[in-house]
Amino acid sequence: MTKQATTAQKLWMYEKMVTSRRFEEAIARIYLEGKQPVFNMANGPIPGEMHLSDGQEPCAVGVCVHLTAGDIVTATHRPHHQAIAKNVDLKRMAAEIFGKSTGLSGGRGGHMHLFDPAVNFACSGIVGQGLGPAVGAALSRKMQGKPGVAVAYIGEGAVNQGAFHEALNLASVWTLPVVFVIEDNAWGISVSKAASTAVPHNHVRADAYAMPGHRVENNDTLAIFAAAGEAIERARSGGGPSLIEIETSRLAGHFMGDAEAYRPEGEKDGLVAKDPIPAFRRHLLESEGVDEQDLVLIEDRARDAVDEAIAFARQSPDPDPADALSGMFVETAGKGADA
């Protein structure tokens, strides 16, 4: 039943992971402009909170490789890797993160509020918030008889929100095409999963809602691919929702500026040593027989795409300040069934 990833799928996943990592590195660098020596979150070309996804890339690519543009993703406050894996327009995404007029939302949203209707991607800033909308989008597809699976990404902290339990129950009662993906990076800002969560592994909670629960350990891209493939296939074929818990790693702080004093000594070094991208690169070279030169081409392409997106964002104009006052409501397009 479990399908193996093709070489083409593996290379796609690798390119998206590298693109995402290069993107986060660029954002981290630029984020600190204007914030040194005194860190003030309001300063610099990218103000505000910044939640980077370094280390969590396998969760994005291993799931999204199975999706089409028509499928729906609701992502979290740490959304860049998920957006990149969902093929969100990288230039307009970068511009939105910079708060520029050319951004996905013209600067109204920022990095926690990225919306790209072309690929059915949305994210939001509050833990567990995307669960309901994912269930609703899946309901919409089912009622309309249209194909499509909704993937709701959450962190492991979100399973202790009421929204998690309500959404899983509703999706199961209505047999909806949803896949709930927990990116378990073991930390809810500074509070460990062990201190916050009554069960050691959250995939067992699927039992409570009569759906399959998968657990993937060790941030393993191919194991994620396999679990997600099964869950998405089940959703597409009308089998209903699934829950996947992925043991992943947050290589950055919760947000830029987080000193991470709460981490045990040596934990971070251990995570860096298990960085999933070099591990996947080794797999491609040693087990998949991919040429080093092909990987370098991919890495160059990823870097170029990021450079181009960042340059676009930097060069784009700020929004007209008074535009802040428009766009509360949309013009109603039509009347009744003719709309």
Binding site: I72, L104, R108, A134, G136, M143, L170, V330
Partner: protein
């Protein structure tokens, strides 16, 4: 012998008018569906989905688990995906368990996405006290919803407006919060405000959201209200008329958008203003109405405006205590006496 009801005599309760608007729109627009607690076989606790499940089935008239966070959030997701969901929040008081989905998602996603995501949905919810249901089942909370940007907010005072506003809300591409007062629904067991049951045309029609109605014309005093407060105001106006005072009653019908022009036009004519609001007094609708006049031209006012609103306490259970707090016609007439100390008592 059959007795045919003439078209212009057909009167409906607000509950019936809401259900009729839903049914007529569901017939022509397959994207419209309803979900909420007890809206299927029961037809809604307040009767506003009565009969829908028989015509449209359980697929489009969905009883939900008691999971407001999930089903309001799901409505947002379905709306963004091209459906036009209607969700019922059984009591507006229950907003506390799902407000994140309402004000952070439903209300903000249009703006956050610069209009690339649309959220055409109707959140219908019951408001109001007066029947000793205690302080978690009796609130209005108009100001709470109207304060937060991104939601249109309507509250009909009669069945004609109830049908027209619902039809307009269902056709709007923006989220609309539709607040219906339990005391106006025409459910016998909740007490019935007879003035809310009025002639309702059979054919679909729209009532513009953001347009107030002059419920009664007058020249000495403007009474502005919404929902059940309009009926209190009309009774007060009838009493004042016997004393030779001509009161105009403005039925706002919508809080967002607010028809500020209608308020100002009436006060420009009368020079005196009483605002009647069953919601809490402070930081709410009543202050907003007064500011609408005062910011525009305080010289329009010949006397200080007065609020007849629910005091800033939770709604008490005991009948005498609740009645002490709720606006009614007598309190409006008493307010007039403070404006016109010389008026006959």
């Amino acid at each position: 012998m059959t007795t045919e009801i003439k078209e212009n005599e057909r009167k409906l309760t607000i509950a019936r008018a809401m259900a009729e608007a839903l049914a007529q729109e569901m017939r022509i627009d397959p994207r419209v569906f309803v979900m909420g607690e007890d809206i299927g076989a029961l037809g809604g606790v307040y009767g506003n989905t009565r009969g829908l499940i028989d015509e449209f089935g359980a697929e489009r008239v969905r009883d939900t688990p008691i999971s407001e966070t999930a089903f309001v959030g799901a409505a947002v997701g379905a709306a963004q995906d091209g459906m036009r969901p209607v969700v019922e929040l059984m009591f507006v008081d229950f907003f506390g368990v799902c407000f994140d989905a309402i004000y952070n998602l439903m209300a903000k996603n249009t703006y956050f996405s610069n209009g690339s995501f649309r959220v055409p949905m109707v959140l219908m919810t019951s408001t109001g006290g007066g029947y000793s249901d205690g302080g978690q089942h009796s609130q209005c909370l108009y100001g709470t919803f109207a304060h937060l940007p991104g939601m249109k907010v309507v509250a009909p005072s009669n069945a004609y407006d109830a049908k027209g506003l619902m039809t307009t809300a269902l056709r709007d591409d923006n989220p609309v919060v539709y607040m219906y007062h339990k005391g106006l629904q025409g459910m016998g067991w909740l007490g019935t405000e007879r003035g809310a049951t009025v002639h309702v045309p059979s054919d679909p029609y729209e009532v513009e959201i953001g347009k107030a109605a002059i419920a009664r014309e007058g020249s000495d005093l403007t009474i502005v209200s919404i929902g059940i407060g309009v009926h209190h105001a009309l009774r007060a106006a009838a009493q004042l008329e016997t004393e030779g005072v001509s009161a105009e009653v403005v039925d706002l019908r919508s809080l967002v958008p607010l028809d500020r022009d209608a308020i100002r036009a009436s006060v420009a004519k009368t020079g005196r203003l009483i605002v009647v609001d069953e919601d809490y007094r402070s930081f709410g609708m009543s202050g907003e109405i007064i500011a609408t006049v005062a910011e525009h031209d305080p010289a329009m006012l010949k006397a200080a405006p007065i609020r007849v609103a629910f005091p800033d306490v939770p709604i008490p259970f005991a009948r005498v205590m609740e009645r002490h707090c709720l606006p009614d016609a007598d309190k409006i007439v008493a307010a007039w006496r403070t404006i016109q100390p010389g008026a006959r008592s």
